[in-house]
Symmetry: C2
Subunit: 339 residues, 2 copies
């Protein structure tokens, strides 16, 4: 690792970034190219070049490691890496609009600058482009990869539908919120971790192990994200303090606490029955009640368990040992993001 | 023809409808299945079964005729027919929201009933589902069909981007508006008319001729739609009288008139320079100015020319003569919808 960031993430970003940009530049609409270029971080709000943070490229890194784990060259995974990053960004463009989020990575979100319609259409275009990138691969492997990617996309959509619906429901169970997370976050990470091996023509057992690794990693990732959404520092997360509680999100810790026995659970249930925390005082109170109900601890323990499960899945196949170690590093990095 | 409706349209609808419904019922989210079922016309707003008009199924009919024209069985085209209908409805779900349209086929649009987010996510799901349906076909033909479908989808998106951008631009040329129409409408009709033949494994010359037929048909279709959008009867179109002018759409007749020499063109340019027609009187005046500038006649003549060009494209290959006649019937039906 360098500065705490696994080498695999930077390596994948360097490998994939030019190909990703090249793919986006094939889009027939100049406005969509501009909105996508802004959202993906290589253009500023005037359409001029900028350098700077354009995300962790976690999904591309998983795709590249997935090919390397079965002894294939990193280049084999590039179409898969681009495709999963495009699907991820399709969903960010639409989700930011639906959630009304005005900032992402310390920059205004695309819909706030270009309008709702441009954000919808740019998302649509990236979703279709993800398929087009895979179709440049010849033969049956492209079709297998495309099938996996569209299945993951449907799961992603299911997760987002449920995430939005849960905001208006008082009776969400822990099983339901974990199923929502499996769709919203884990499905595409599982697909990313499998797709490089699919393009490399790896045997089904290898693909299944990598898929299971990505699923568990995705669960851990979202659980940590949910912890950060309540107790993360704004300068690290780029979001206001207690952001998810202000937005009345039914994230995992909230749902766990709403289902907990005892006085803290009762008080939290009363708060949400009255419409959810409103104002500074109630938001801070909700965070305290969630912690007192044991839900912060529950979520932390669950995230750790999912991380361990992810790494254990890698024992199910005889992967390249050094790449196996890199995959485990990425998983630990993701799950250990600082509160 | 029966009651003026070509037999091919009803036959395709009967063949495709159960398979389309079956595909939608595979979607993992119950809410998305409900929104899609409502939008596609087989569910009412309570999620109960309804019967009634669920659209002309023009695109599925073209896909089925496309396979039959090269002597294949209609069933060969069913995945193509479903896929193009799904892409069409993905775009309707998103466009109705972006355009703020509250009614479609005399029913409230999906976003007005289920909200913006549900309409966005249902559109996303149908776009991904279109690919999934094609992926059920084995082998290289599925990949070829998918490539065509995603290319058409990108053109569709480009067209919609331009359609929205033109509303805010004063200097749209006739070439620009025709290019917009080629994207927004003709691309998916061209794809529909080619895709059945692709799945039937037809030679490139046959596919190219059908694609060209669909393109010209699509141009004729939109030109007639634009005429109906100004001079169509509300009871036929299901839209208020002069609807496109009220919405200040830069449809083809409007752009042709805005580019016309003479006093009527000058007065129309002045009206649009001041923000576009506002109120009953100005809307009626704009319609008259467009007609006086010769743009109604120009659009009518152009629509007829595109229809003839469409039918002529079918001479480029030795298609089944009876199916060739059915394709020509469908084209004439589409271009002759009553004002």
């Amino acid at each position: 690792m360098t500065n705490g960031l696994p080498v695999a993430l930077a390596a994948a970003r360097d490998l994939v970034a030019p190909a990703l940009r090249n793919a986006v530049e094939q889009l027939p609409s100049p406005l969509i190219r501009q909105v996508a270029g802004y959202h993906l971080g290589w253009l500023d709000e005037h359409g001029d070049e900028r350098s700077g943070d354009s995300g962790k490229a976690l999904r591309p890194a998983l795709a590249v490691l997935s090919a390397r784990a079965v002894f294939a060259a990193p280049a084999v995974a590039v179409p898969a890496a681009i495709a999963v990053e495009l699907v991820h960004n399709f969903s960010l463009l639409h989700d930011d609009l639906m959630d009304g989020d005005k900032e992402r990575r310390h920059r205004p979100t695309a819909w706030t600058l270009y309008g709702d319609s441009a954000a919808i259409l740019a998302g649509d275009a990236l979703l279709a482009l993800a398929q087009q990138v895979l179709f440049e691969v010849e033969g049956e492997r492209a079709l297998q990869a495309s099938r996996r990617l569209t299945n993951a996309t449907q799961e992603l959509i299911r997760g987002q539908v449920e995430d939005l619906a849960f905001e208006r429901r008082a009776d969400v169970s822990v099983a339901e919120v974990l199923s929502m997370v499996a769709g919203k976050t884990a499905a595409l990470l599982a697909c990313s971790a499998a797709l490089g091996a699919v393009l490399a023509g790896a045997p089904p057992a290898a693909v299944a192990a990598l898929d299971a690794f990505g699923h568990e990693l995705g669960m851990a990732f979202q659980l940590v994200d949910d912890l950060l959404g309540i107790w993360g520092h704004p300068e690290v997360t780029g979001k206001p303090v207690l952001a998810d509680l202000r937005a009345r999100k039914k994230s995992v810790p909230v749902v766990v606490a709403l289902n907990a026995d005892g006085a803290s659970g009762d008080r939290l249930r009363a708060l949400f029955a009255a419409g959810g925390p409103d104002g500074e005082e109630e938001v801070a109170l909700a965070a305290k009640l969630i912690e007192d109900a044991g839900a912060r601890e529950w979520t932390t323990v669950e995230a750790r368990a999912r991380l361990n499960a992810a790494v254990a899945e890698l024992d199910a196949y005889d992967f390249d040992p050094s790449v196996r170690a890199e995959l485990a590093d990425v998983a630990r990095f993701v799950a250990a993001r600082e509160l």
